[in-house]
Assembly symmetry: C2
Homo-oligomer: 113 residues x 2
């Protein structure tokens, strides 16, 4: 039974979480989600980091599959990848549910199967 598959899924999810794990990228994400159509260098102005840095953050988000870039020369229009965040959201639910189930009433030693 190879855990490689599950392992891959974990890596993917971790990568997504990691992509969200930076304030600047959160802001970029909100901006992208909120803004219809193209914003280009506007991101740079709003975020207040160097253009190269912002581009790098965008690359990271893109690599994680969280956003997609559609070329509209000379710009690139970014938008949320639909569903990319769902695995993460599912994990959170999964964790919460499992936790609640175990929280409720099991005395320390009754953990027999």
């Amino acid at each position: 039974m190879k855990d490689t598959e599950e392992d891959q899924a974990d890596k993917k999810m971790a990568a997504v979480a990691k992509a969200l794990g930076h304030p600047a990228r959160l802001r970029i994400l909100r901006l992208v989600a909120r803004t219809p159509g193209c914003i280009g260098g506007d991101i740079v102005d709003v975020i207040g980091l160097a253009q190269s840095t912002v581009s790098e953050h965008l690359r990271i988000l893109k690599d994680a599959g969280v956003i997609e870039g559609q070329i509209d020369p000379p710009r690139v229009c970014y938008s949320l990848s639909p569903g990319a965040l769902l695995p993460l959201s599912s994990l959170i639910d999964e964790l919460d549910v499992a936790h609640r189930e175990n929280m409720c009433c099991v005395p320390p030693s009754a953990a027999e199967r």
Copy 2:
């Protein structure tokens, strides 16, 4: 209205996301969520990393507020911090909603509020 507050919230959320941004920590989290009562060094066995490394991951999760440790000498019982993941989950929803709204039919300039 200083953005420092919002900023802080972002940092916090990013920190939580970052804490989830590692496969080993995802596995630890699932384990903790699923396991009633104390697991101690059991984590080490299951995860397959050195005890110090696991301890470090636990510290990171704890610092991010994702788990809590309750002392039950000579062990420490870890459990999910209830609600710690909610902000992240909310963000995901928020992003998805905003995205969907902008996807469907809003012309570029109708973006009020």
